[in-house]
Amino acid sequence: MTVETQSPRKRALVVGAIAAVFALAAVLAAVVLVDVAQKKAEARNPVVRVVELTDETEDPAIWGKNFPVEYDLYKRTADMVRTKHGGSEAMPRTPSDGDPRSVTAQSKTDADPRLKTMWAGYAFAADFREERGHAYMLDDQFFTQRQVVAKQPGTCGQCHASVYVPMKKLGNGDIFKGFEALNKMPYSEAKQHFKHPVSCIDCHDPASMDLRVTRPGFLEGIRAYKASLGVKDYDPNTMATRQEMRAYVCGQCHVEYYFKGPEKRLTFPWSKGLKADEIVSYYDEVGFKDWVHKESGAPALKAQHPEFEMWNQGIHARSGVACADCHMPYMRVGGTKVSDHQVRSPVLNLNRACQGCHKWPEAELKGRVEAIQDKHMQLREQAFDALVALIGEIKAAREAGKTDDQLVAARYLQRRAQFLFDFVEAENSTGFHAPQESARVLFESIDASRQGQLALRDPSFKPTVAVVNVSTAPAPAAPATPAVVPAVLK
């Protein structure tokens, strides 16, 4: 049909339709134009400085004005998602006087009562749950039943709160002085200084946005570790590479530690090395114990969460892959590239966390991770059963009248088996950070449990490791430390 054969009305309709198509094309072209222009602008100016940030800017919401994308992601650490072997799921609870939380993570001690046997007589037997995201670190530390059954020092705040600004204030500008002041306080007093969970200023220099280490515990610990390798006066803030800092800022908290002496100085036990058995040797040498096991009387140790140490033993660390590469991978937002501040399991984010290096399908990568973790859980079961069996035997021997002298070797082997097991159990990757090292440590633990049982049955049995007689006398109390009265945060 041609235009000439049609009535003027029809012709007008056709012309109108063509005009509409062209108009639509113009609109689409304009949309593309604006989008391209916007993305070009974003790529040129990724940061718009709205507020001035200083070394006293503690509130992450203020940083969020300059870094809205990072801040929004940071707030999403409140999401509770589980993976096959880890993560947290929201468990409803009825708020009580001492604990206003209406949601917590699932209880690990309820899921596996062997944990209560391992920690008999220690606060962790009272309450131990799956770890939740950074958003909850302050609440979960404050409202745990551990605060009710035991005195906790202010030292705990080192990792459960944003403490850089509070430490500087307490120390009149000197974080080490503030650190020492905080360590000595009871937690109930220290908490008055805490306003936020880990925040921007704990890892970033507000002027340059460079990563920096702000925790005295890590600065002292890494210096001790580097000294053991022959590097003198190591300071990560001046000597580490950018990529090293992308692990060190995480290693400020995700580590094994203890509270040294009556002043409760937070100390990383790294001067003999970062491996689990090197850390036991350190504790043996300084004669440290966390508590005396209620059932067996052993001078026991509680491993914390040695992710940094375990990652150091794995292939990813060997290949120069830092914590942030997998737990805070780069992502695209419009025309800009940002580091994902929703710190979480890489399994929840396989494309960005893994596929940048491993170009296999996501299902294949997830399968690889879970295959490693499933095998790890099998070894863990066996090591745990062996440990619980040893604890039961020492308890029975004690009740049958064996003297403390006769139990020294078995108790030491329990201490050792327990710490090695707990090192892997408390480490938050279900064996993934360093699969072979985790298996080796579990194997060492099983062997120590086995030798402990042999030592009970045959007084002439000589363990393959040197038995250290650690004092079971109570640790000296901190000067002027009143009992913590659990109170509700305002």
Partner: protein
């Protein structure tokens, strides 16, 4: 049109204005987005879209940097199929970049991988055919992943 109707009737003016606006805005958008560059072979063009800047940097450090550009591996050698693939990829890329929703770590589609494998053989036919006897099923880039760029 010839039968007495005015050349400047309202519909015709409307049509001309709309067409002019579309061509004008579209042309400007095309020029602003460096549209003409997409017809050539300069690798810098591919990194107009900053999603490609990592690949571009990888190519600059790669073994093939001196002998092959993006198009040598990612489009077929024959002119017609080359521009057909360019048009198809260009459509996918511009849609993805404008509308979003693509994964941050992008991965080659099966069609793109086939083009790449074909281009390996286009230059290296002699040695590859001697090794594989012309059979399919052997992937060059599975083992030689770093030849073009490492990501």
């Amino acid at each position: 049109m010839r039968k007495g109707s005015s050349l400047l009737s309202l519909p015709v003016v409307l049509l001309a204005a709309a067409a002019g606006a579309a061509v004008g805005v579209g042309g400007y958008a095309f020029a602003y987005a460096k549209g003409t560059s997409y017809l050539g072979n300069d690798p810098a063009t591919c990194s107009n879209c900053h999603v490609m800047s990592g690949h571009y940097a990888g190519w600059q450090a790669s073994a093939h940097h001196a002998v092959a550009t993006c198009n040598d591996c990612h489009t077929p050698a024959a002119t017609v199929s080359k521009y057909a693939v360019k048009a198809e990829n260009g459509w996918h890329h511009s849609m993805a970049f404008t509308v979003g929703g693509f994964p941050d770590v992008i991965r080659a589609r099966a069609e793109s991988t086939a083009v790449i494998e074909g281009q390996c053989r286009h230059c290296h036919a002699q040695i590859v055919d001697a090794m594989t006897g012309g059979r399919d099923g052997v992937s060059c880039i599975r083992c030689h992943a770093s030849v073009g760029h490492l990501r």
